[in-house]
């Protein structure tokens, strides 16, 4: 006879779970009681939101399902932001929550929350376990939905009496999905149509999103793009999918995308989209997005089509299948030479105004940092100005090398996510870039970093403002800096030291020299190569702005290149 808690853990092991993140509490206590000897390592974070973001970090960098555990009530509701984040960014995630005992459900018992109901619109699939017999099937099915198709979050809510109850256990089960008669999938005919569209086009472009990475199609995609040799750009989640040194690569597209990418996207007459949702941060005003283009959209999830802008040619299916199929057909045809268009799209008049970022010390700082990163590095960015600067300057061709909360834009994501990344990649250099606002949203995870002696390299870009909101207030609200002033920030260096983490400060004046001084270079190198965790606070000008910028509701062609 095994307890429900033991059965749960055995089923998790059967799904390949070796590591999970959580925070104990009343209703989930039986599961914690069963942890010892389960073969699963549990990492205690200092807040449930830290646990779910850490699980996301683990999942985003490995492609495996991340697992977060919390108790009922506030424990469960503290997971919600992470669940929403995983939904938006297609992260495979299973959250297991304890629930009050079955007899109390619906009575507003102590720490009872209908987390099943709360998360219905945020999860891909969820279950409230009703009997101990259901546990193996529910876990198997939950993991199936978390990792299949477009990955996403799942929640499994288990009443505490189910975790305590005992039964004979014959072992984990395998989930066999029901047949879905209406499953949409591209047939082979799509390749002819796209080839014909390419032959008619004079300004074709390619846009790469996260789907290309999630499907494992990066090698196939890179071969296809080399063959197409058309101007190509990436969303924030597509960064690293295309080697930045590729001659046809124009950088990031969207609200803070490069001038070259946004201009080419506005002018194109044929847009090939590979695994991107085309959300409003990429399209700008949807009615004026790629106004001259026919759109071919390679996508695994039909529900993502036509959300913002209708596409002429959906290609539904796993990109790991549709891209090779398309490329195989393409090889049998000769394509027009798009050299002239390539040259226009990447011409000097479309280059960045300030390619070395000399006028912007934070960009200089990030350039210095990124150029000194070891080969096997992962960069995490929190949410705000520093996130966009980091995305603009990131130059690696590692598909899972740049991790951020893109769709939800959840401040406080980066530090706990870095915990998950570092545990998944113990030998990697994990660089976590945050702003002073976001860092304080999950600052308690410094304790987790210290406890596990994780060598995470943490940077706070400290402008003593909620910088991105302040930028919008400056540009669109007549400099009414309402409640964005953080000039009374704590001393982050002293805070880190209180957590027994070494910390130091660098002033932006150090970035006004070009090249940087030997002292500054050594400081950055020493920071990146130190054995343990370390914090570097970069003090920067309070009113620096991120450019280019497409104002909300404007067309990509209306981007602001500098303050006017």
């Amino acid at each position: 006879m095994l307890r429900g808690a033991d059965i749960t853990l055995q089923c998790l092991r059967a799904e390949g779970v070796e590591l999970m993140f959580g925070y104990p509490g009343g209703a989930i206590m039986p599961l914690y009681d069963a942890l010892d000897g389960s073969g699963i390592r549990h990492v205690l974070t200092r807040h449930e939101q830290g646990a779910v973001f850490a699980a996301e970090g683990y999942a985003r960098v490995t492609g495996n399902v991340g697992v977060a555990i919390a108790t009922s009530g506030p424990g469960a509701t503290n997971l919600v932001t992470g669940i929403a984040d995983a939904k938006m960014d297609s992260v495979p995630l299973v959250c297991i929550t304890g629930q009050v005992r079955s007899a109390l459900i619906g009575t507003d018992a102590f720490q009872e929350t209908d987390v099943f109901g709360v998360t219905l619109s945020l999860t891909k699939w969820s279950r409230l376990v009703r009997t101990i017999d259901e546990i193996p099937e529910v876990i198997a099915e939950g993991f199936h939905w978390a990792r299949s198709g477009r990955p996403g979050p799942v929640i499994i809510d288990i009443p505490t009496d189910m975790l305590k109850a005992k039964k004979e256990f014959s072992g984990p089960v395998k989930f066999v999905p029901h047949a879905r008669p209406a499953e949409a999938k591209a047939d082979g005919g799509f390749t002819d149509t796209i080839v014909a569209l390419l032959k008619q086009a004079s300004k074709p472009v390619a846009l790469v999103g996260a789907g290309a990475k999630l499907s494992g199609a990066i090698p196939d995609l890179r071969r296809l793009l080399d063959h197409l040799n058309i101007p190509t750009f990436a969303t924030v989640h597509g960064l690293g999918a295309v080697p930045p040194q590729s001659p046809y690569y124009l950088g990031m597209v969207g609200m803070h995308g490069t001038r070259a990418a946004n201009t080419a996207l506005h002018e194109t007459d044929l847009l090939l989209v590979f695994g991107a949702r085309l959300d409003d941060r990429v399209t700008g005003d949807p009615s004026r997005f790629a106004p001259h283009a026919k759109i071919v959209h390679f996508e695994i999830d039909p529900s993502q089509l036509d959300r913002v802008r209708p596409c002429e040619m959906p290609v539904i299916g796993d990109l790991a299948e549709t891209i090779p199929a398309f490329h195989a057909e393409l090889r049998r045809h000769s394509l027009p030479d798009f050299a002239e268009w390539r040259s226009v799209a990447s011409g000097p008049e479309r280059a960045e105004l300030d390619p070395r970022g000399l006028a912007q010390p934070t960009i200089r700082f990030l350039d210095e940092m990124f150029s000194r990163l070891p080969e096997n590095s992962v960069v995490l960015a929190d949410v705000g100005q520093h996130q966009m600067w980091a995305a603009q300057r990131y130059r690696s061709s590692s598909p899972r090398g740049f991790i951020t909360s893109g769709g939800l834009g959840a401040m406080g994501f980066a530090l706990p996510a870095a915990v998950g990344v570092q545990l998944a990649k113990p030998d990697a250099c994990v660089l976590c870039v945050s702003g002073d606002g976001g860092f304080q949203m999950n600052i308690q995870e410094l304790a987790t970093v210290h406890r596990l002696a994780l060598p995470v390299k943490m940077v706070i870009v400290d402008n003593k403002y909620l910088g991105m909101v302040r930028q919008w207030q400056q540009l669109f609200y007549e400099r009414n800096y309402a409640e964005t002033d953080l000039s009374d920030n704590p001393d982050f260096v002293e805070i880190a030291k209180a957590y027994k983490i070494p910390a130091r400060r660098l002033n932006e004046e150090a970035m006004r020299e070009f090249p940087v001084s030997a002292y500054t270079g050594d400081l950055i190198d020493g920071f990146l190569r130190s054995q343990g965790p370390e914090l570097l606070v970069f003090d920067c000008a309070p009113e620096a702005n991120v450019f280019p910028m497409v104002p909300a509701g404007a067309a990509l062609s209306e981007m602001l290149l500098e303050e006017e």
Partner: protein, 98 residues
């Protein structure tokens, strides 16, 4: 008005997920009827939607794990002139006091 019939396995939350796809778009639901049909369940919804929303709803419903089939057509006016469900009876002030 458009009538949608969504066939689904009656698992936990599936009907709510179907309805969520409607409510998150702030669409009114003048009529909702769900019932067992053959081995599955089916919900019939009457919605005032435009063409873009029809496409979005179709795809969103199909992305729900236990939805098996979606079909739709224009609502026949005659069939929906009666309020569904019937308007409730309100209790008069005097009766309430009694």
């Amino acid at each position: 008005m458009q009538v949608f019939q969504i066939r689904y396995r009656n698992t936990q939350g599936t009907l709510m997920r179907i309805l969520n796809a409607v409510s998150r778009r702030a669409l009114d639901m003048p009529s909702v009827h769900a019932d067992a049909v053959e081995h599955d369940h089916e919900v019939t919804l009457v919605l005032a939607v435009n063409q873009k929303q029809i496409g979005q709803l179709y795809r969103e419903w199909y992305s729900i794990a236990d939805v098996t089939h979606v079909r739709s057509g224009a609502a026949q006016t005659a069939e929906w002139t009666t309020p569904r469900p019937p308007a409730g009876l309100s209790m008069g002030r005097a009766e309430a006091r009694a």
